[in-house]
């Protein structure tokens, strides 16, 4: 759906409404979604809190309660579950670290244990398994590299092999898939570009070809899709843009058109942003919409780091253990 000329009440970013929407979702424990999302709540908390930070409302939430809950979700193997009664997984281990980073409480975490867990997931071919059950995915490589960067232990894993595995997932269109041979997908591209940036290996990708494929994700609605001939969806505002931003090619898409699409996906009554206009809003799309706007320099928003997926101010406070977007010039020379 192409946004109308007049966006009406959606012409503004309704920050207070979005903040209230996130808080309400977190607190409404009689909602079916609250229970149905328990297994990935750690990521939900990360999306919600980062969105709140970007709109200047992080203080709306109970920091102590959240920090304690995160710590309770760490298991004996060193990894974190999606919530205390769920098994360890790399996905939630990263979300847990990101939440602790937002609160500048990373020092409360037993870094050695986390690092041992993360490193134990690396396979002989350089890839990473998501947990002890052997699912391999390029997302997990990014997660492992980012965990090590956040805990300032970049050499705890074999970064060169990790980067070589990512390169083996590169396709004819310059994009990346989940495993070697799998189709390019913008979500996967974000993780692969992020992984290569963290491993100082951006020379392993074809910058122009990949960024062209990414800018071809913009449809006539102004929104971005994740693969050719698929529908646009607000979450790709983060996945495509973060990669374009890391690679210094944000200007290859129409940023005004994308901004209007994201704004049009707002719910002006209940707050929140949805995948497509007039769909039900959720915390996931609210975060990715706001994060996309932040990358495009939307006025009034805190800026976000496209590699760390955390506010730039937070990343700057971390001792630079790996290249963040702010330390890597976006005008980096062509490869």
């Amino acid at each position: 759906m192409v946004p109308p000329e007049d966006l009406g009440p959606r012409a503004e970013l309704l920050t207070a409404k979005h903040a209230a929407f996130i808080k309400k979702f977190a607190e409404n424990t009689s909602n079916f979604e609250y229970f149905a999302t328990e297994h990935f709540r750690m990521s939900g908390v990360y999306w919600g809190l980062t969105a709140l930070y970007l709109v200047g409302h992080l203080d709306d939430m109970d920091e102590d309660a959240i920090v304690n809950w995160v710590l309770e979700s760490q298991h004996a193997d060193g990894g974190f579950g999606g919530s205390p009664r769920h098994d360890s997984h790399l996905l939630y281990t990263l979300s847990a670290l990101q939440v602790m980073a937002l609160y500048q409480k990373l020092h409360l975490i037993d870094a050695d244990k986390v690092i041992a867990y993360v490193a134990s997931m690396q396979q002989p071919d350089g890839s990473f398994s998501g947990d002890e059950w052997g699912e391999i995915d390029t997302r997990f490589t990014y997660i492992a590299l980012l965990c090590c960067a956040l805990l300032q232990r970049p050499d705890a894993i074999d970064r060169q092999k990790a980067a070589a595995y990512i390169a083996s997932c590169r396709n004819f269109d310059g994009g990346f898939g989940a495993r070697p041979g799998m189709e390019s997908h913008a979500g996967q591209v974000f993780t692969c570009v992020g992984a290569l940036a963290l491993a100082d290996s951006l020379h392993l990708l074809d910058r122009d070809l990949l960024c062209w494929w990414l800018c071809e994700r913009q449809t006539d609605t102004g929104g971005l899709n994740g693969r050719p001939e698929k529908r646009e969806d607000v979450c790709y505002s983060w996945w495509c843009l973060s990669a374009l931003s890391i690679l210094g090619r944000l200007h290859w898409i129409d940023q005004d058109a994308l901004t209007r699409y994201i704004l049009f996906c707002q719910d002006e009554e209940e707050g929140g942003i949805s995948d497509q206009p007039e769909d039900m809003a959720d915390v996931f799309h609210t975060f990715f919409g706001i994060a996309g706007l932040s990358l495009m320099g939307f006025p009034g928003l805190e800026s976000i780091d496209p590699i760390f997926a955390l506010p730039t101010k937070i990343v700057q406070q971390l001792k630079p253990a790996a290249p963040s977007a702010s330390s890597q010039s976006s005008e980096a020379p062509d490869v």
């Binding site: 909602n31 079916f32 229970f35 396709n171 004819f172 269109d173 041979g181 290859w252 129409d254 007039e278």
Partner: protein, 360 residues
């Protein structure tokens, strides 16, 4: 959450519906608590596993429950024989029920993969299942990934796989997943026999160069593929899937050019493609002389620019003047396809190369 309409707002008004919703929440949370508590205590009895299955059918992404089911199965599998085979069969049926309702569930696909890796099940049955799922949703990347996993286990012939991709494209040429698969297979299918000539032997050509030549897709196959994409262009010149594949085919031609051989053949193929693009542009112009559909002229125009760039690089002396055409085309594209004006600006300055540098 994807594709759920905002209106009508859920659970507003009707007290009966509100009550039903509350009940659903209570049942679900009680089921979850019971299942997790028992599983975490290592209680893998039939009743608990049945409850776990009920939970997964409602919400197949609850990975912790799949993990426990794997632990429970490992004990059964160690007994071997029919018991193991039956247990795996029942578990496959559970994942099938979950996938039919939730075909994009990462946790369920991985569980099924883990089951198949126990090597007590029929792979052909798996292929049939995934083929059916790919008929229902031809772009489901979980399905394509699973299919690739099966083909690797079965050591399927690249020719057969290529035939599957071709059939998918024949059914719908917009299927980018199938074009993608073709790019993975074409070189494997057309493993050129070594073409070491006497001249090569005399000039003691390096084995690396010879190996590179062997990896080229032969001209006759490229010609065949170019014909196939051309048919797709004429059907809908605005669909990007075949054009993206076409860019890759041009890269394959460029790889030939880099060997320094067959220059005439390469130039003639490129000129043939120039003619195709010009013809489509003319047809679109006749179809809608006043307001050309932007997407239908964007792709042939961009491809034309790329072809001119290629000709300049393959045969600089004959096509030097075409540089002007390239710049003109990119300027036109800035108007035709305004969303990507930034890219065309860089391309017109020669600082955004998506073809000439990408021969593979």
């Amino acid at each position: 959450m994807h594709g759920r309409p905002r209106y009508p707002r859920p659970n507003t008004g009707d007290p009966q519906k509100l009550q039903a919703a509350e009940q659903r929440v209570q049942l679900y949370s009680r089921l979850t608590s019971t299942v997790l508590k028992r599983l975490q205590a290592g209680q893998y009895d039939k009743e608990t596993l049945d409850l776990a299955a009920r939970l997964l059918e409602q919400n197949p992404e609850v990975y912790t429950v799949w993990n426990h089911r794997k632990r429970a199965l490992l004990a059964t599998l160690s007994k071997g024989g029919d018991t193991a085979a039956e247990a795996v069969k029942a578990e496959l049926a559970l994942t099938q029920r979950a996938l039919e309702k939730h075909p994009k569930s990462y946790a369920t696909w991985h569980h099924r993969r883990w089951l198949v890796a126990q090597h007590v099940t029929s792979l052909q049955q798996e292929v049939d299942l995934v083929n059916r799922l790919l008929e229902a949703d031809e772009r489901n990347f979980h399905g394509w990934g699973y299919r690739q996993f099966l083909m690797e286990l079965m050591q399927a012939a690249p020719e057969d796989e290529e035939a599957y991709a071709a059939a998918k494209i024949d059914h719908n040429f917009s299927n980018y997943s199938a074009w993608h698969l073709k790019t993975r297979l074409l070189k494997k299918v057309h493993h050129q026999s070594p073409t070491v000539t006497l001249d090569d032997l005399i000039s003691a050509k390096s084995s690396a160069a010879a190996a590179a030549e062997e990896r080229l897709v032969p001209f006759w196959a490229l010609r065949q593929e170019l014909e196939l994409v051309t048919q797709a262009f004429y059907t809908d010149p605005g669909d990007q899937s075949p054009w993206l594949y076409h860019r890759w085919l041009l890269g394959c031609l460029l790889a030939h050019a880099q060997t320094g051989k067959n220059k005439e053949e390469i130039v003639s193929l490129l000129q043939q493609e120039v003619a195709v693009c010009k013809d489509i542009l003319e047809l679109e112009d006749t179809a809608a002389p006043d307001g050309k559909a932007a997407s239908s002229i964007k792709w042939p125009s961009l491809t034309l620019a790329q072809l001119h760039e290629l000709l300049c690089s393959v045969a600089p002396s004959s096509f030097d003047n075409e540089q002007t055409d390239v710049r003109l085309l990119y300027r036109q594209l800035q108007d035709i396809d305004q969303l990507r004006a930034g890219f065309y600006t860089d391309a017109s300055k020669g600082s955004a190369k998506i073809l000439v540098q990408s021969a593979t």
